[in-house]
């Protein structure tokens, strides 16, 4: 075999390998979730963010508009500070938008849901979302429910 045909075969092999990697990335995996166009960041403070992860979705009206970029702990306020990365296209969210942590399905993964308020002014990059609602922890709910139940039985 001449070295030219050999080189062509190696070229085909490498191209096939790279094409396979490309297919795995684009068609099989959630690469789309990583693709971020220009975006801006806002923060939100929560008492409890159990189950929320970096890269968890941020949605509004059920449509994905961004993702969680950072989760930090504020030593002063003893709260979780979540940085949300929101698509630049959605830059007209009202200033009094509220953020809640929801669960997809009963046991599914957590995500941040935003609900619009009514103000004229919109959120600026670096702003803080004031109205927040914490992650619902199943154990806590059950404990509250049982406590209430016992209270009701023995007044």
């Amino acid at each position: 075999m001449t070295s030219r045909t050999l080189e062509i075969w190696v070229g085909i092999f490498v191209a096939a390998g790279l094409a396979a990697l490309f297919m795995l990335a684009m068609k099989v995996s959630n690469l789309a979730a990583y693709q971020t166009g220009p975006s801006y960041e806002v923060t939100a403070r929560f008492e409890d963010v159990s189950g929320l992860k970096v890269r968890s979705p941020v949605t509004m009206a059920g449509v994905r508009i961004g993702r969680v970029k950072r989760i930090e702990f504020d030593d002063e306020a003893l709260q979780a500070v979540v940085t949300l990365e929101i698509d630049k296209r959605h830059n007209r969210l009202p200033r009094d938008t509220s953020a809640s942590i929801y669960t997809a399905g009963l046991l599914g993964e957590k995500y941040v849901g935003l609900e619009a308020g009514g103000e004229e002014e919109s959120l600026k990059p670096g702003d803080r979302i004031r109205l927040t609602q914490d992650s619902m922890v199943l154990e806590k709910l059950i404990a509250q429910f049982i406590a209430k139940f016992i209270e009701d039985k023995n007044p």
Binding site: L6, F13, L24, S29
Partner: protein, 259 residues
């Protein structure tokens, strides 16, 4: 009794001596890798024998493994009414485990044994000695290009295996068993993570490629230079590579997905 202990000691000593020689050889090979980028044609030649010649078996095996996964996965999932998740099952099994592991085993059988036999025969026919006498370092000229080629070819082969497997699963699931085409791909895309699954699978295949190629080259270079010695070395390559791949797979899986 003392004789048995002595034998045990001898076996242990032999094992550690081989291990030591293997590591020294690896260091010498790694030192020979950077200059190869100036003479990449040497590597291209090896990519042909290590990569292109392994392509057919990888394509066929990948397709069939994917089809079997599609069939088995469907039969299990349909009981729960969850056959829409077939894509997830097929893709995750392939990119996380079967892609890297089965490819590495096939690679050891196809390319690894050929490497050992080739290098062992070069040693037995004094070709390596002759190179040394021509002031050409056989480690740099013969072993290093083969190592680099194995290292580069294995992740590509594993990716091809997984990609073909996903298509095989699609063919059985969507084509023959009537799973919804959109559900197959969208569920897959929702659950397969680029970093956690695909990238970790690629890392696994890189590690397996390096280890299998290393074992194959060492066995050839360390073979007793007779036809019997070379044939034993070839067998050892396949056995040791398989054990190393399966053992390392457990370690890597524990490290990657353990938390």
């Amino acid at each position: 009794m003392t004789e048995a202990l002595r034998q045990l000691g001898l076996v242990g000593l032999g094992f550690f001596q081989r291990l030591g020689r293997a590591h020294l050889l690896l260091l010498a090979i790694l030192a020979g890798v950077p200059p190869l980028f100036l003479r990449f044609s040497l590597v291209v030649r090896q990519l042909y024998s290590v990569g292109v010649l392994s392509l057919l078996i990888i394509l066929v095996s990948g397709l069939f493994v994917g089809m079997v996964l599609g069939l088995q996965g469907y039969n299990t999932l349909v009981d729960f009414g969850a056959e829409e998740s077939l894509g997830v099952v097929v893709a995750l099994s392939l990119v996380r485990e079967l892609g890297p592991v089965v490819t590495a085993l096939l690679f050891a059988g196809r390319a690894g044994s050929a490497l050992t036999a080739e290098i062992g025969l070069m040693k037995a026919t004094e070709q390596l000695s002759a190179m040394e006498m021509m002031a050409v370092d056989p480690i740099r000229r013969v072993l290093a290009p083969r190592f680099l080629a194995g290292f580069l070819a294995m992740p590509l082969l594993a990716a091809i295996f997984s990609a073909v497997g996903v298509i095989g699963g699609w063919f059985v699931g969507v084509g023959l068993l009537g799973v919804d085409d959109g559900a197959y791909w969208s569920q897959m895309q929702a659950k397969v993570d680029l970093y956690d699954d695909i990238w970790n699978g690629v890392v696994k295949s890189i590690v397996f490629g390096a280890v299998v190629t290393w074992i194959a080259i060492f066995e050839g270079y360390d073979a007793v230079p007779t036809s019997e010695g070379v044939s034993r070395a070839t067998t050892r390559t396949v056995v040791h590579s398989a054990l190393a791949v399966l053992g390392l797979d457990f370690v890597l899986t524990a490290l990657m997905f353990g938390d």
